[in-house]
């Protein structure tokens, strides 16, 4: 009944909830120049084609989540629970996002893509992303799991996506060779991630304080996650290091290598906190 074993058993879900929200928000932010029509034809084409990068990050997360299923061949039944089961709603939103994003990406290779159709498609993808991240944030809001049904639990995941997403967008820009409107655009993205990081750290400290007083008849939350606050510190340091690398890269020339390093640092920080989330699983009764 130790938290580490619980989280390790759900390691694919830790990966999923680390990668998918960050990849999805990264995709959304990367699509904004195209959506707003502020790019020339050449930039638009490269941004469209390299939008597969954040999409691939989100898809790796989704594939990871599917591997924890005992019997994926029954997966289509998941759609019968949309609106009733939070997990069904989350999977449905994920599938809509991936289907629309996949269609958009394929259409980008058309010889003469119609701009208006592309913009409608990318707007639809962005709406799907918002719904996906929100549905994911509320996927584990079940009254009987007292450590997961905290009011700030969904906020933490949404902020995770806002810490990781902008850095993945920068990586996408670098891979596409897109410089946009100069370093100001990149700095704005790092600033958004920095503000989200500060808020996210604060949210985790509040969650940590709430967890310290929780227990059922079998175990206490603080014994399941004995190092919650040190983990928050590790998260903040890793993510801050990632943002610093990204900031430095923005100030010079966006390089894929430095932004891969920045993304890995930020995602590693988020991974730590997602791991503690699964470690903290505790029901109101006899479940751990």
């Amino acid at each position: 009944m130790d938290g580490f074993s619980i989280a390790f058993n759900e390691i694919t879900l830790v990966l999923f909830t680390t990668l998918a929200p960050a990849g999805a928000v990264g995709y959304l932010l990367m699509s904004l120049p195209v959506l707003l029509g502020r790019v020339n034809e050449d930039d638009r084409r490269r941004l469209d084609q390299y939008s597969c990068l954040p999409l691939a990050i989100a898809m790796v997360g989704l594939i990871a989540s599917a591997t924890h299923l005992g019997n994926p061949s029954n997966a289509l039944y998941v759609f019968t629970g949309v609106g009733r089961s939070p997990l069904s709603t989350e999977v449905f939103c994920a599938v809509v996002f991936l289907a629309l994003a996949g269609m958009y990406w394929l259409y980008a290779f058309a010889e003469t893509p119609r701009r208006w159709l592309q913009r409608i498609l990318v707007a639809a993808v962005d709406v799907a992303i918002v719904l996906f991240v929100v549905s994911m944030a509320f996927a584990y809001q079940v009254d009987t799991i007292i450590t997961w049904s905290l009011p700030l639990t969904p906020v933490a995941l949404i902020l995770n996506s806002l810490v990781g997403g902008p850095i993945i967008t920068l990586l996408g820009f670098a891979a596409a060779g897109y410089r946009g409107h100069g370093p100001g655009q990149g700095r704005l993205l790092v600033a958004v991630a920095a503000v989200a990081l500060v808020a996210n750290t604060g949210v985790y400290l509040v969650i940590g304080a709430q967890l310290s007083g929780m227990a059922n008849e079998l175990v206490s939350a603080s014994s399941l996650v004995p190092g919650f606050i040190p983990c928050v510190v590790v998260f903040a340091l890793l993510a801050a290091a990632g943002l610093a690398v990204a900031w430095r890269s923005v100030g010079r020339d966006l390089t894929v290598r430095s932004l891969v390093a920045a993304s890995l640092l930020v995602l590693a920080g988020i991974f730590v906190m997602r791991f503690t989330f699964y470690m903290s699983h505790l029901t109101v009764g006899l479940g751990v």
Partner: protein
């Protein structure tokens, strides 16, 4: 017609014949049990002024499986509808629909559903629904040498044993409205505050 279990925590000796009968009936290995017996106790030894030693220890046993709740968490979160009430209103797993995601196991406050990783789907107490259909009681009930367990139509169980369904270490009944009637142990009836203050689950390593 909903069914309910009755557990008599005054009679139960914690022998676990119910647990083993259930494992036998459902062919369960060492890692999965549909029924658990919790040993709950506390108290200490005290030396009196005259030099004698007295104990105020208390202990009782609670045998619990799925309570086929009226407000079940497991089926509410199940994404596929595999976790469902059958025609006898007993919570069962439809293995043709279950994806083995484990959300039912995560959400149940009674530890009732488990994911059988080898089989690839959730498994749980189905109230021995086939035995019930044949007019018999669940095997755990029939195995109990102290007749501390009973099972039957919910209204008959309530009429016979009352409506009490709160007893530590079980979760508060408001969480899922379990179909469970309890006969409380004498130590709880005598001093429930003391039991709540000093009690703890004493057999954690036996719980799977």
């Amino acid at each position: 017609m909903p069914y309910a279990f009755h557990t008599n925590a005054r009679r139960c000796t914690g022998c676990k014949a119910c647990v083993m009968a259930c494992k036998d009936q459902h062919d369960l290995g060492p890692d999965i049990a549909f029924r658990q017996v919790y040993e709950y106790g506390g108290g200490t030894w005290e030396r009196r002024e005259d030099g004698t030693v007295a104990s105020d220890a208390f202990a009782y046993y609670v045998s619990v499986a799925c309570n086929h709740c009226a407000n079940p968490a497991c089926s509410q979160v199940c994404p596929t509808g595999a976790m469902h009430k059958d025609e006898r209103d007993l919570m069962c797993v439809d293995v043709q629909r279950c994806i083995g995601c484990g959300y039912c196991a995560l959400s149940c406050p009674y530890r009732a559903p488990k994911v059988d990783r080898d089989a690839g789907h959730s498994v749980k107490c189905d109230g021995c629904t086939e035995r019930v259909a044949a007019g018999m009681k669940p095997v755990c009930v029939e195995a109990c040498p102290r007749r501390a367990l009973d099972f039957g139509p919910a209204d008959e169980i309530v009429e016979r044993y009352g409506i009490e369904s709160n007893l530590l270490p079980l979760p508060d009944a408001t969480a899922t409205s379990p179909r469970l009637a309890l006969t409380l142990p004498t130590c709880v009836e005598a001093d429930p505050q003391r039991v709540a203050r000093d009690g703890a689950v004493l057999n954690l390593r036996e719980i799977v």
